[in-house]
């Protein structure tokens, strides 16, 4: 057998202005004409990794490459993908293992300020589909359900187009790429606009035609998920990484980015590349792909362009809305899973929301609390009652009717909401709010008559507009 030419992985793109370089692995086809069509995608290497896996690798070997890569979930939680796949009971093991098994692709990108998966689905749907098929091959899954955010009509159209093309080309169907014994189908399921349906078990309920109420875990979806069967749920970007992991090897991917902390045996590091975004009070919002290692400041200033003319950055939520806020002098931390946790925040979806000095933090909190109060599914008492209660308190403070005791009450509510619910929506509500209340306490006191706050700061903020998130 003739030795195949070893494909070479993308390299960091040279930069001349001293900015952190981009590395285009996932985004290599962004901007290419008709990149979403099968013809163009194939010309540019689509399904080569799938072909390689089917020709040369066992499912177990694909799983091993993913484990070696140490790729972590890109939806926000950062769970190691290979470990998650390893939980799926194998066929022939009896019980759950012998049931049909599903992949649910979490494409319900509804986190405020987050629009990275949208790029992948609109511009490279075949890459997404290839990732799904590799996952299905590795884990023995027969059906892919792509649960897409309903407000993404172009994504829905491009994914459906890609599925149609793939089916016609024999990439989907009874024998994937002619490989006997590997049958796989894919279906697009548009969501109906609920944030909670992006939570994996809420998504499964929704997919089953029920209300998006998250389930209590365990059992975890990998064992008992959609329709009572073993189900892998992964984020779009996570699976889009798999073709290059298979193509260039898990070791290649694992060698990129931030290595695990050698002093911390539980550290997993942040391997590979990552789509990162910036929105909010910046000059050039957008999405770019970097090898892990870029700092928050390098991202929001180097690529986001910094605060608009004449303003300064006040605070940044590094990953969507659901993470604790960083102040302007805390931005020299790397955009990495462990690094940001160590800095008291989290990577989340790695799409930074920037607030400048015109942003009123009291109103920002009211806005954030409103979002979570509105999106709380209503299932668990602390989240259902607590999120709106917090919003009411922020409204009261905004109107100048608050007292310092309200800040103590808020702290009490944070404690009684965080970690007291079935899913993490309540935690996601508490984390940004608590960090803002703690780090910008003076702005809250300034809104309280006679509370001795910093009047100058409060006065400037009170008259200024603000924008937080893109709900």
């Amino acid at each position: 057998m003739a030795a195949k030419k070893k494909p070479t992985p993308p390299k960091p793109e040279p930069v001349e202005d001293g900015r952190y370089p981009q590395t285009k692995v996932l985004s290599r086809n962004f901007g290419v004409k008709d990149s979403w069509t099968l013809a163009v995608a194939r010309e540019r290497g689509a399904y080569a990794a799938l072909q390689k896996a089917l020709d040369d690798m066992t499912p177990e070997e694909v799983l091993q490459e993913v484990k070696t890569s140490r790729v972590r979930g890109r939806g926000g939680a950062g769970f190691p993908t290979g470990v998650k796949w390893g939980f799926v009971p194998r066929a022939g093991s009896g019980g759950q293992g012998d049931k049909p098994k599903y992949l649910v692709l979490n494409a319900d990108e509804s986190e405020p300020g987050t629009f990275k998966d949208r790029y992948l689905m609109e511009l490279d749907p075949h890459l997404v589909l290839e990732g799904c098929l590799l996952c299905a091959y590795a884990c023995g899954l027969s059906t892919v359900y792509i649960y897409v955010r309903g407000e993404y009509p172009l994504c829905i159209a491009r994914l459906e187009g890609a599925i149609r093309e793939a089916r016609e080309a024999g990439i989907l169907g009874a024998s994937v790429l002619g490989h006997e014994g590997f049958a796989c189908e894919a279906h697009v399921h548009p969501g109906a606009g609920a944030y909670i349906c992006g939570e994996e078990t809420g998504m499964i309920e929704s997919l089953e035609g029920k209300r998006g109420h998250p389930r209590i875990k365990p059992p975890f979806p990998a064992v008992e998920g959609a329709f009572g069967c073993p189900t892998v749920i992964n984020n779009v970007e996570t699976l889009a990484h798999v073709p290059s992991i298979v193509q260039y090897g898990g070791a290649w991917f694992g060698g990129l980015g931030i290595a695990p902390d050698p002093d911390n045996p539980r550290s997993l590091g942040s391997s590979g590349t990552k789509l990162m975004g910036v929105s909010g009070n910046v000059r050039t919002p957008g999405v770019w792909e970097f090898e892990f290692g870029i700092t928050v400041r390098q991202l929001v200033e180097g690529y986001g362009g910094g605060a608009p003319e004449g303003r300064t950055i006040k605070a940044v939520i590094p990953g969507g809305l659901s993470m604790p806020v960083l102040t302007a002098d805390e931005l020299d931390v790397k955009m990495g899973f462990d690094d940001l946790v160590k800095a008291g925040s989290g990577l989340g979806t790695a799409t930074a929301i920037v607030m400048d000095d015109t942003c009123d933090m009291v109103e920002a909190c009211e806005n954030i609390a409103h979002f979570f109060a509105d999106e709380s599914c209503g299932q668990c008492t602390p989240c259902r009652e607590g999120c709106h209660w917090m919003e009411k308190i922020f409204t009261r403070i905004k109107r100048g009717e608050g007292t310092p005791a309200d800040l103590d009450l808020l702290e009490n509510l944070f404690t009684n909401i965080e970690g007291r619910t079935i899913c993490a929506l309540a935690d996601a509500a508490v984390w940004p709010l608590r960090s803002i209340v703690r780090k910008f306490r003076h702005e809250f006191l300034a809104r309280m008559p006679g509370a001795g706050g910093d009047d100058a700061a409060g006065g400037a903020a009170a008259s200024a507009p603000h924008t937080v998130g893109a709900s």
Partner: protein, 510 residues
């Protein structure tokens, strides 16, 4: 370190310092319950799937950090150490109480649930005893009809979903769902009009607060003015275990009582509401005899017994009893029939079975009657003595066709023209006695002292007096003696009787 092995070496968990064995599949709340440790709960119910949403059953698990766990879902593992009264657990529950009350209306003074409300109880036990919010409460729909029998108040609702899960998972009809999000989430009825299930009113009992109230019962009485008595429903022969509630002579409601062998926790709506005749304005209140003009004269019980004995001596015959009569009453009916050289018979209606609890046989003690050898009266036939509680069991054709001169009836509309002496009969809610249900299970019917005219001599006593008049050789047995005789009876050799002490303690409700 506490001892973590049970004496037989099986797995154990430690709850509040007590080492407790557990069965596979049990959750911590169940293990605790089985050993007398009550962990507060709203959304947990042993007969429904676990929802884990109310967050009041949170407990601390040693070594699991500062995140409290919900006991309703927590699977025990060998050696697990659980604290229900630690600072963390208590603070977590108090925090949940605070959340539950922040939007809950303070309308306890006009709420039917007051007095049996878990929110009240847990506020008292676990709440902070102070209000920390000054913000306006969220407004939600009130007085929403759920079918014709149930009324929903979304503001009182704590969204535990017990009612939704009952309709979905127990009744299987799924009329209810949650709707809306956040603190505007409410229970909605997904079908218009009536519930498909004939068991919808169980959701009123399940509701831990006053969000679901009974159209039949609401605003009728404060609970603490009522008396409650555990008994069995006699609307059909299933014998669902129930509690009757009454006040000032009126029966106000009936609710199911848990019995895993009969009705689990449930009862049908038809049976639950089958008590209007108890409160009928035409109830008989005093014994009466025909006077010379053919009208009625009210007399004393003794005079009525003497008159009845005379009537039965003059015209002896058979005895026909209602299929809802107790075993004691039926035993005496047999003895009386024998004394008159007649036959003892019973009459009972049949109806539709619903495939769940309600059975076709409507005679609550028809099975008992058969065991005692009473024949079922299907067509009109003559009898000297008639006992009738329910129109359906002993319809007009049987009553009028009996030609009975001595009649025990709960209502004057049930008295045939042939009657010379009439004794007022207590309804099943007012009588004590034993019944055998359709499954051959012996159960106890108990009188609620707050229901009925209240001055009625028990039919079983009057029947025994009559027997004494007709057969002076007979010893007085009384209810205890009758039960002893039944216990020794061949027909009940395979039946388990209630404990003698419990039987002796039968009396008016609390």
């Amino acid at each position: 370190m506490a001892e973590t092995k049970s004496t037989d070496g099986g797995p154990t968990i430690t709850i509040d310092g007590r080492v407790l064995p557990y069965e596979p599949g049990q959750t911590v709340i169940q293990v605790a319950r089985a050993h007398g440790i009550e962990i507060p709960h709203y959304c947990y119910h042993p007969g429904l799937p676990i929802a884990g949403n109310c967050r009041i059953c949170m407990v601390e698990v040693e070594g699991w950090g500062t995140k409290p766990q919900i006991a309703c879902k927590l699977q025990p593992s060998d050696g697990m150490v659980v604290h229900t009264q630690s600072e963390l657990a208590k603070a977590a529950r108090a925090g949940t109480m605070e959340m539950l009350l922040v939007n809950h209306p303070l309308d306890c003074p006009i709420c039917d649930q007051a007095g049996e409300c878990h929110l009240q109880d847990y506020s008292y036990q676990l709440g902070a005893g102070r209000a920390v919010t000054t913000t306006a409460k969220t407004k939600l729909p009130k007085n929403v009809p759920f079918g014709s029998k149930i009324v929903y108040d979304a503001e009182r609702c704590i969204k535990c979903t017990l009612c939704v899960r009952f309709c979905e998972d127990v009744a299987g009809t799924g009329e209810l769902s949650m709707g809306g999000r956040g603190d505007e989430e409410i229970v909605i009825m997904t079908s218009r009009g009536e519930f498909e299930t004939g068991y919808a009113m169980n959701i009123i009992d399940l509701c831990p607060v006053g969000a679901l109230t009974s159209r039949d019962f609401r605003f009728k009485s404060r609970l603490w003015f009522m008396d409650f008595t555990p008994t069995v429903c006699t609307s059909c022969a299933k014998g669902c275990n129930v509690v009757t509630g009454g006040r000032d002579g009126r029966m106000l409601r009936m609710e199911p009582r848990e019995n895993q062998d009969v009705n689990r926790w449930w009862m049908c709506d038809e049976g639950r509401l089958d008590y209007a005749f108890v409160n009928a304005p035409t109830r008989l209140l005093a014994p009466r005899v025909r006077d010379a003009q053919g009208g009625w004269a009210e007399v004393t019980w003794d005079d009525a017994i003497a008159a009845a004995a005379g009537a039965l001596r003059d015209a002896p015959g058979s005895v026909l009893v209602d299929g809802n009569c107790s075993l004691e009453e039926m035993l005496l009916a047999g003895d009386l029939a024998a004394a008159m050289k007649g036959k003892a018979k019973y009459a009972a209606a049949t109806g539709e079975a619903d495939g769940w609890l309600r059975v076709a046989e409507r005679g609550a003690n028809a099975a008992g009657a058969e065991r005692l050898g009473l024949a079922r009266q299907k067509r009109a036939g003559t009898s000297a003595l008639l006992v009738v509680e329910r129109d359906a069991n002993v319809p007009a054709a049987l009553r009028d066709g009996s030609g009975a001169t001595v009649v025990f009836a709960s209502d004057e509309t049930l008295v045939p023209d042939s009657a010379r002496v009439v004794f007022p009969l207590g309804t099943w809610a007012e009588r004590d006695g034993l019944l055998v249900n359709a499954d051959g299970r012996l159960q106890e019917m108990r009188a609620n002292g707050a229901i009925g005219p209240g001055n009625l001599t028990a039919a079983v006593e009057v029947l025994e007096d009559l027997l004494g008049e007709l057969d002076p050789e007979r010893d007085w047995r009384g209810q205890e003696g009758l039960r002893a005789e039944l216990r020794a009876h061949d027909a009940f050799a395979d039946v388990e009787f209630p404990a003698a002490r419990e039987a002796a303690g039968v009396g008016a409700g609390s």
